[in-house]
Symmetry: C2
Subunit: 803 residues, 2 copies
């Protein structure tokens, strides 16, 4: 066994960047003279002595978990190649058939789950509001208050408790975790069956508890869970497995299924099939192929058809309080919208304010998450206590605020005394009157949004009510999200945007001919653009929600403006949360300073390599003493005339080899009979967090002295870069091809055939800036604002979590 570290110089290279620590003005002056010689052939030094000390932990759901990188590379070992070649036409056909069957399955289940969620929420929350309304009509105000607060508290406590005690990975919206997974970061339990169940049940109860939270984020996670579970052949823990799914036991196929699942989740949440595909494409996934678009599209089409069929059932009135208002679908087609160039200024204004409010929302959200995390860190009891406090506070706000609003006489038919979905509520008002604020607050969020979006209702609400409703939903939304239970951000953002948009519409008064309902729609779009910074997908989702294509140019305009404005303040909410959670997300662009570095400037070590035929003892020792997930295999004399890079072998495969105990007594190449002892399935990747551990494998002293021929199990086609490659270009390769390990080969032939391995963590800004602190000062660091603030927050957040 050779450690290439032996050949490496141990001194740190003289910094070629020291010039750039100077002030910017000075650099500006020196530009002409160019102190740095163009041809400085600086010695290549690999810092093999210091390991990469970036955190291998991140917050997944609401708890700190170990994370692991996914491997999208094709493993081309001889064994795998033989297996692949031995697959007949039937096997290939079966593979293709399964791929599509899985999508069909994901689509049907996601559609059914989305429908069931809505049904449950509408019935639980609807029943609550009916009871409340009846008590208010009977003038039993205190009873109503206690009933309201009590039921909200009970629902939220249940959601928080199952999250804390059964599956912490189910907490939060799950979108950052799904985004990280699709970027290549895996964590145990994020896609387990347990998480799925907790997510569904917790989301229903949490959303029913009048918190300002939504169903869309969890639906994305639920869809992704479904994809991952079918992809790993069921759940081993609960003995629900399909043994014949071996072709899907790799990260590539699972990634595709998770992508389709996430798209299905969005489609089910919003009944927006095209929007779902686009959301997956624009916001979630980091790799994409044209063929996958089609598969995702198929999945969301199945979702749409499933939903349609289920709604057909419900239209026969068998779904309790789940009426037309059930699924989010703010049908405003009735309105034949006309607008002209003169209507643009208010729309532009809407976009600008939406951008400012959105970035402020992100900023405040981050602060609140950080604050709440200090409480959450102290244990489950504190989490429950926090949830209880938030629930009671919100219940009080919701119950208290309507008393400020005046009573107004009813003008329409739907101002009924018995509260039903979508009607106007009398609250404390005399009969034939309604309380504006109560009509906005004592509803499920979906119904409130529908009210705000509807056209021809310019006179239903007064400015003051809408203002109060806007302020309350803005801040209650922020506070709600800090609770460690499963729910999302989408719906509260749409709601907040709708009330703010309507407010702007009212303030415009006669200066604009546009309907206030239209203003509400555009307000929602602008606020979505300001917080989530998605464009095409939000646009399509808004169109599919409102079912009005004529809105398109206006929605596009407002989105573009709000995104542009907000981008100048901070990144989008999901990226902020990703950073806060400490997930090592690999951006698709290189930071400017990466062009100043070569791969050898960041690689850490020590590098451990194996010989083609290696002693078992060495393997066990190295696996025990390092955490590396892959090792280069070098053929040295007598197996070759000079040291030759044979390939890369994965830790997981080594562990499988050791478990099988297929050892040989002498150091020779074993020949071609490995397929008698092994099948490719022995090396297939298992589900998240279900890896073998070296500690669990028992090897006798005698076996330790034996040998393994690693050749048939080694990936013979690892991707490589020369050590002088710039880090920026290595990142492009790493990210575009979806690698987990990237070998570094020497530029000259006098060295060992491989001099280092790059992993995801070597590209993380924290690592690079830690190795080269002077880059922090240089103006090549980064252009985005506030990122430093975020990473500071993130660090402190991680600190409590680690402690």
């Amino acid at each position: 066994m050779a450690t290439a570290a032996d050949t490496a110089e141990e001194e740190l290279p003289p910094s070629r960047f020291s010039d750039e620590e100077d002030d910017e003005e000075e650099v500006e002056e020196q530009r002409g003279s160019m102190k740095e010689p163009l041809l400085e052939h600086h010695p290549v030094n690999l810092r093999r002595l210091a390991p990469n000390n970036t955190s291998q932990l991140a917050i997944v759901g609401s708890n700190l978990c170990p994370i692991e990188t996914l491997d999208y590379e094709l493993i081309e070992s001889d064994l795998f190649n033989q297996d692949w070649r031995s697959r007949g036409r039937a096997a290939i056909l079966r593979y293709v058939l399964f791929k599509w069957t899985f999508c069909l399955f994901i689509g049907i289940v996601a559609g059914a789950v989305g429908f069931f969620n809505n049904l449950a929420v509408e019935n639980i929350a609807g029943f609550k509001f009916v009871a409340l309304s009846n008590l208010m009509l009977a003038d039993k105000y205190w009873t109503a208050f206690w009933m309201f607060t009590g039921s909200n508290l009970a629902l939220l406590m249940f959601a928080t408790a199952i999250t804390a005690f059964v599956s912490t990975a189910a907490g939060g919206s799950g979108i950052p975790e799904v985004k990280a997974y699709l970027n290549g970061v895996d964590a145990p339990d994020i896609f387990s069956l347990r998480t799925l169940v907790v997510k569904i049940v917790g989301m229903i109860t949490a959303v029913s508890s009048s918190l300002h939270v939504g169903k869309a984020g969890p639906m994305v996670h639920i869809g992704a869970c479904l994809g991952a579970i079918v992809g790993q052949g069921g759940s081993r823990q609960y003995h629900m497995t399909w043994r014949w799914l071996r072709y899907f036991k790799n990260d590539r196929d699972r990634r595709d299924l998770v992508t389709c699942g996430a798209a299905a989740g969005v489609a089910a949440a919003f009944r927006a099939p095209v929007g779902g595909v686009l959301f997956s494409l624009e916001s979630l996934s980091s790799w994409w192929r044209s063929a996958l678009i089609w598969r995702a599209f198929f999945t969301t089409a199945v979702v749409a058809i499933t939903l349609r069929a289920l709604i057909d059932v419900c239209e026969r009135g068998k779904c309790g309080l789940f009426g037309k208002g059930g699924l989010i679908m703010y049908d405003v087609t009735a309105e034949n919208i006309t607008y002209h160039v003169a209507d643009l200024p208010p729309v532009i204004l809407l976009g600008v304010i939406g951008g400012i409010l959105g970035s402020l929302y992100n900023f405040l959200m981050l602060k609140v998450l950080r604050l709440f995390s200090i409480v959450n860190e102290k244990g489950r009891a504190y989490r429950l206590l926090l949830a209880a406090t938030v629930s009671i506070f919100i219940s009080c706000c919701l119950f208290g605020l309507p008393w400020l609003a005046p009573c107004r006489p009813c003008q329409k038919d739907d101002c009924s005394s018995t509260s039903q979905s979508g009607s106007f509520m009398s609250f404390q008002c005399p009969p034939k009157h309604y309380n504006e604020l109560a009509s906005l607050l004592f509803e499920t969020n979906d119904d409130t949004i529908r009210k705000l979006f509807s056209s021809g209702t310019n006179d239903d609400f007064q400015k003051s009510s809408i203002l109060v409703s806007f302020i309350s939903s803005y801040f209650l939304g922020i506070i709600s999200y800090g609770v460690a239970a499963p729910f999302g951000l989408f719906v509260p953002i749409i709601l907040t945007g709708a009330s703010y948009g309507r407010l702007i519409g009212m303030l415009m008064g006669s200066n604009s001919n546009l309907d206030h309902g239209l203003f509400a729609v555009l307000g929602s779009a602008s606020f979505l653009g300001g917080t989530m910074r998605m464009t095409v997908s939000v646009c399509v989702i808004m169109l599919e929600l409102t079912n009005n294509l004529l809105l398109l140019p206006l929605v596009m305009l407002v989105l573009l403006i709000s995104k542009t404005v907000a981008d100048s303040f901070n990144p989008n909410i999901y990226d902020l949360i990703l950073k806060l959670k400490g997930l090592p997300y690999l951006e698709d662009h290189a930071e400017p300073y990466m062009r100043q570095l070569t791969v050898s400037d960041v690689v850490t070590g020590p590098l451990r390599t194996f010989n083609g035929v290696e002693k078992v003892g060495n393997i066990v020792h190295i696996l025990k003493t390092t955490g590396h997930h892959a090792f280069p295999v070098i053929d040295e004399p007598p197996f070759s005339s000079s040291p030759v890079l044979f390939g890369l072998i994965l830790r997981a495969h080594l562990l499988s080899l050791l478990k099988k105990k297929y050892f040989q007594p002498t150091c020779t190449i074993s020949g071609c009979d490995v397929t008698k002892h092994f099948v490719a399935d022995d090396f297939s990747k298992r589900g998240s967090g279900k890896q073998d551990r070296i500690e669990d494998i028992e090897i006798t002293e005698e076996e330790m002295e034996m040998f393994i021929d690693l050749h048939p199990f080694t990936n013979t086609s690892p991707y490589t870069v020369v050590e002088t490659m710039s880090l920026a270009k290595a990142l492009i390769l790493f990210r575009e091809v979806g690698l987990r390990h990237l070998l570094i080969v020497p530029k000259s032939s006098s060295r060992a055939p491989v001099v280092g391995i790059l992993t995801r963590h070597d590209f993380m800004p924290e690592h690079i800036l830690g190795l080269h602190p002077f880059l922090k000062k240089s103006r090549w660091k980064r252009l985005r604002f506030q990122k430093s603030t975020i990473s500071r927050i993130s660090r402190s957040y991680l600190m409590w979590a680690c402690s």
Copy 2:
């Protein structure tokens, strides 16, 4: 100067695939025994003696042109890096500002061009039909016939003539060329100002000439042209250049602009901004970034707003015959579509038949293109003759067919005697009667589609008329496309699909409750799915065209079915045309047999390398004797202790160096004063087909003996693969990162530091199967059907073109 070929063994390697030439059954039997040893360390042999003889020519537009690969790699030479580092904040800001300004410009111009095209077509064709109608009313049938045929002939001859004499690159739809460009294949003149003008004028006249052709394809090309022209800083030929656009003088930025331009073209053609972005994403572009989605979206939003503003102008009635029907927008919102599970069977049937008809359409189209190409090859006169024949034939068909149809009494108001857009035509019928076929045929395609799509018109047409209309549009569309003039396929396909869909609806009779207009819409979708095989983008375009989101699940269903059915017969029409044209399109997936090969199995030579400091004479000699576009630079003693790969230098950069004549008398490293003599702009990439040639540079005998220090101009970060890398994985790298050259480094250290270069042509199936003919027989070859047929056709097509 060292040619690494010296070190290569000259024998061909023993074929490791010879086993697989056996019949499949035999291989099936042998699977257990595995003849091939797993560890056969076969000697690596690079076939450096045989050059890659794949064609460097392809048909662009309607003529054979030399093609060239684009280079999306970041060139990280010292000179470029210095330049990049010297850019201040202002330069970066200016760059970003320009990027967005360009998109704004592209959007506005594409919108305006799209509008103008429609205006012109509606007016020219409208005037023609009004005149025809008036003549018919006056019973001057023969005059009408001659007028009709004559005007069609004149219009088409004009379009064909300007294409043949001014810019042959403007012929056809242009979508295959744009797709190839975005894949990395460049051809001179495809995006020149001349092509743009010919495309616009030719398209207007060709579409007005009653050929069954559309405007959408050319609009994509026009949009892409606009993008490329602003990207290369205007047109040098016509002295319309902007000198300060140097940052965009590279292929990466141009690719982005072309992508945005293509999206804008679709958006302008269909008034479908979201559809435009998706079309670009799904069908055209091979590389995509999330940031680019946003930019494309901005461009199409600008298009939508521009169109809206221009239509506002036209609504005041200043646009002649361009009325409400101007832009394709088949508004069927009035219809409140309801459908249930019972309506699915006819929809599924529609999808299946659409798929079959679509693949047959592709097949026939290919046959016709091949047949017509035999005529077209004979020169411009023959092209014109062919166009004339087609035009007269189509005119006769269109004029003759309505005589077969019966006269029916008018039932509606729009059955006016004076023909106007969208009305029913009396043709030879008595007053207050209309001729069904004439009403379908004597219209612009847009108006016919609108008639077929409209709901509540189940009784307007009889089965026989729709059948005749379907057959005529099916075959006339195929025939029309063979003419070498600028037009597209989209609209004829929509039209054919609409008539076929309506026919199915009629045949369904009382078995379906769906409206015949809805059947027409779904028929169009199924036929688009069957020919073009796009899913998400066609779906969104159909929704944006019909302005009815309720159709979504049905359209999705029908698209999925028709695409699946058609995919089992042949590839999509654009891929077929790409192959026919001989454009070296790089697929995003590796063919199965590529996993059986290593990069050294396909690389061809001889490899030419340069020393770090090279003699001018050597450079000139190599540039004159090879066509290579890049050369590895090797540092040899005395500049380094052993041969070291320094980087890769481009031919274009060498030519710039030779032109500048910055030579030095001795073989030494020149030092750091290159920026005194060079700026990065000297090496910036010029527009398509405007490269320097070595023959144009005059070097004296004395200069030939001098030296150039290549170090500062060499890209020090070329991408590399080890020679044992499998071809499939090298392809993934090549394609995902968007390379032009991929260096092959040796696996052992006893060889030259670089042993070969892979280019796009080395991944072409023709090349690989030419080197390893036994792969053709193996079942690892390919799964798709008919590809071999296509390449046969393609070869014969190329043969005439080359001759």
